[in-house]
Every structure is written in structure tokens, then in C-alpha cells.
Amino acid sequence: MGLAAIMWQEYVYFKRKFWSITLGSMISPVLYLIAFGWGLGGGMHGGGGDYINFIIPGIVGLTTMTASFSAIGNSINISRLYEKTFEEFMVAPLNMWVYAIGKVVAGAFRGLYSGWLIILLALVFRTKIDIHPYFVLMMVLNCLTFSAIGFTVGILIKSHADMAKFSNFIITPMAFLCGTFFPLAKMPFLLKNLIWLLPLTQTSLGLRSRGENIWNRTMHPLILVLYFGLVLVLGVHYCKKAE
């Protein structure tokens, strides 16, 4: 019931802000597609094929990451520090696990919505995109992981500026370095292995994994599940102590 309440609230918000969410989700990906599809992409190759076909999974990964992270991170941070609506949930007979899961799932839905919009746009740009159950699984896990990260950061930060700092120092570098726009193989050895551990790298590799061996195809979702679990436990722990 508590979970349904939170999901219902998020649905009401989504319905009310449908156009701003939809158009807002499309701006960056459209710019990427124009720049890398029509602009640079025409004469370039990457990952063994046309560059545009290489970057589409990367753009799906980074868009679902930013959409899930921002949707939940901003919502929690505004609710806690500005509108104080967070208190309404704290005084309600609601288990903090239920609250966290409700918010994280809602954030993941927002990420998935943005992801499907990109896929539709990619089809407009006539790119080859291979959608299969494993691709969808990776998208879902990416959304859940970054939604959980957004939740935990939203609970931990002490000011609105901290949210921007986290985005600038963690989310933006990941968006560019985690195999989204170029293959990891081009990186120096040490940096490559460090970046390999990051969740968005696992998503980028997973989304492009057709033909990879079973070991790798098992590792990508497992690592994301591990991130999701750890970050969620941390978020709930601090949520129980939040004032």
C-alpha cells in the first residue's frame, strides 16, 4: 500500500509534467544524434561498424543514467531541503525500505521512458539498433542502479549545490568515459581497468554485448546488481537517520 502510494504520487507528477519531461528527455540525445549521426558520424567508424551504430547503445546508457539519477536525486533533494515534503513521508507509517524502493522504482521508470524515447529517435535517424531481452535487462538494471545512486545522494547531500557538484564530478565524467562514445580499448591500461569497474561501463558493454562470451554477459548484470544493492542499503541506512 505504501509502495502504491509513492508510485501513484510519481504517476500524478509524470502526468502533470508529461510534455516538459518528454521534451526535456529528448534534447541532449537529439543533439548527440545530430552531432555524431549527421555531423561527425557519416564518415567515421567505431567498434567495427558505422560510428552512429556504435554510439546509439552508449547514448541509451548515458541517457537512462542521467534521467534516472536526476529524476530521483533532484526530487529527494528538493523534497528534503526546499519543500520539506520529505517530512510527510518520515512521519507516515511507512517503512523506509518501502519509501526507498518506491522512489527508486519510480526513478527507474523515468529513465526507461527516456531510454525508449532515444530508441525511437534512433529509428528516425535510421540507425541499426539490436534490441533483445538482454539489452532490455541491461537498460532496466542501469536505470535501477542510477536511480538508487540518485536516492542515496539526495539523502546524503547537505545543499542544492552539493547535487550539482556530484553531477559535475561523478556523473558527467562517467557519461563521457565509460565506453559511451569510444571503446575502452583506446584507454591507457590502468585507466581502462579503473573505468571498467564503473556501473555505466558495464551498461555500455552489456548493451553492445551480442557475440560476447557467457562469462562477460553474466558479469555485466551481476556488477550492476551489486552496485544497486550496495547503494540502496546505504541510502536506506541514512534515510532512517535523516532529520
Partner: protein, 279 residues
């Protein structure tokens, strides 16, 4: 209904609430009065589980209050000092969300929403976004929301702060109707008149401690029923007397502007703490 034992809250070296003991009886309208920083809001926040206790215990209807004990939370309704409505939701949606969070069945939820919108006079604005409401309407909606799940104890933290006098009086009528319904209410305020009009008993807080506890009438009687107010050496002074005759005797000796009036809780507070309530 509410039992607070040896309650203390410390923020580093600062003691916000200092060994507070308090019992509020079932059906009582109880007021916590005090200046800013007296510890009123911290007390309310600890009862509503928003702020962890440093030590002591709080029980509502025999159950210990704790953020992770959901059952006891159903018994408490909270109206915080600041507006914390979902501004992008309508009045109806705010109440619906609250009803869902408190696991109310759909039928009783919808009936209760209609009842409370009627009670607070917000029927006409039910489907308008909360952010378009005036300060008074927001307060009314917050009270309606706190009453949605029919709590046994209602916590009101300065419910009329920032409202103009006319709206404040309307809010008092609304709050009086609540207490007539048998609900237990704990109100914090620094409006003396509000405490005098609404509360059956009043606790005066200062520096995190409860300095006095009684009915408004008895507290006033303790310090004297009549005040002689006069201006001397750049400040207004007041002297309290048991009888009007004693007050008149002093007034006759004073030069300049002298005012004789009935004493109120403000005088009690000033007498006990040397501070004005709003300071």
C-alpha cells in the same frame, strides 16, 4: 494519551530540550508556550519522530514512539510550522496521497476527503494546485491532511504563525471545533491570546525546560490578576497585583502615562522568565 519522561535533546554543546517531563491527557487541548529557541518545535519534532531523542522516552497511547515503529505513527497527526504540502498536487491529491500513505481503504479515504474539505471550507478549491493557495488556505489544508487518518493525537506547531489576524481567528474556530470532537491536541505557539483561547492547560518553556504548568486562569492568578503598566527611564514597566485596589493605589502615586489592565499569560511569562514570549 501523551507521556514524556526525562526527554533531552542535545545538538553538540547546545541543549535544546532539557529533561522534560510532561503528561497530556486524552481529549485535552494542551499548549506549549515559549520564546523562540525554548525547545517547543524540537519537542514536537521528537514526538513526531522527525528528530531522534538524545535521552528519555515518549509514549503515545501507551506505545513508545520510534521512527521505525509504524503502528504508533498512525496515532499521530502532525501540522508542522512550515508549509510542506506537495505544491504541484491539488488539495484533493494531497489528501489522497496522505490517505494512501496511511493505508486507508479507498471508500473511507474518499469519504474522509469530502468531509475534511467541507470542514476546512476548501471544497471549491479541491482541484486547484496547492501552490496557488493563500497562506491561510495552505494551513487549513495541512490541518485537513493531518486529520485524514483520524489520529488520536494532533501536533500543531505554531499553526497560525504568519497569518493575518482575521484568518487567525477563523483558524481558532476551526481548532476549537477539533477539540470539541474529543481529539487530544498539543499546540505550540508564541501567541499568548491563542493559548488562552484554545488551551485547557499550558506549559511554559524556557531554555529547553518546563518552567510552569497549569491552566491559563490559574497561572494568571498565581502572578496577579491586575497589571499597572507605566513608562519609566525609556522602558515600559509592569507591576502585578492581586486586587484592583492595590493596583489603583500604585497608579495614584505614578506620574505620566499609566495603564491598568487585566493580566494575561504574557505577564506570567515575563514574570517567570524575564523574557517576552515572542523574543
Amino acid at each position: 494519551m501523551l507521556v514524556i519522561q526525562d526527554l533531552t535533546k542535545q545538538y553538540g554543546q547546545i541543549t535544546a530540550v532539557d529533561h522534560l517531563d510532561l503528561v497530556v491527557n486524552k481529549g485535552e487541548f494542551f499548549g506549549l508556550l515559549g520564546p523562540n529557541g525554548a525547545g517547543k518545535t524540537t519537542t514536537i519534532r521528537m514526538i513526531s519522530t522527525l528528530t531522534p531523542l538524545t535521552s528519555g522516552q515518549i509514549a503515545v497511547a501507551g506505545q513508545t514512539v520510534n521512527r521505525n515503529l509504524t503502528e504508533v505513527k498512525r496515532k499521530i497527526g502532525v501540522v508542522p510550522q512550515h508549509n510542506n504540502l506537495e505544491s504541484e498536487m491539488t488539495a484533493w491529491e494531497n489528501l489522497e496521497l496522505h490517505g494512501r500513505l496511511y493505508h486507508m481503504p479507498k471508500k473511507s479515504r474518499r469519504e474522509r476527503i469530502d468531509e475534511l474539505l467541507e470542514f476546512t471550507g476548501l471544497v471549491e478549491r479541491a482541484h486547484d494546485l496547492a501552490r496557488t493557495f493563500s497562506g491561510g488556505m495552505k494551513r487549513k489544508l495541512m490541518i485537513a491532511r493531518a486529520l485524514m487518518h483520524q489520529p488520536e493525537l494532533l501536533l500543531l506547531d505554531e499553526p497560525t504563525v504568519g497569518l493575518d489576524p482575521a484568518v487567525r481567528r477563523k483558524m481558532w474556530d476551526l481548532l476549537r471545533n477539533l477539540s470539541q470532537g474529543g481529539l487530544t491536541v498539543l499546540l505550540t505557539t508564541h501567541y499568548i491570546e491563542e493559548a488562552e483561547i484554545l488551551c485547557q492547560r499550558v506549559g511554559l518553556m524556557n531554555g529547553g525546560r518546563l518552567v510552569e504548568l497549569d491552566t491559563p486562569a490559574r497561572l494568571i492568578k498565581k502572578v496577579g490578576k491586575v497589571v499597572v503598566e507605566y513608562f519609566e527611564r525609556g522602558e515600559t514597566k509592569g507591576v502585578l497585583f492581586e486586587t484592583r485596589e492595590e493596583a489603583l493605589a500604585l497608579a495614584a502615586k505614578l506620574a505620566g502615562s499609566v495603564k491598568i489592565r487585566s493580566s494575561n499569560l504574557e505577564d506570567v511569562f515575563l514574570q517567570l522568565t524575564n523574557r517576552r514570549v515572542g523574543e
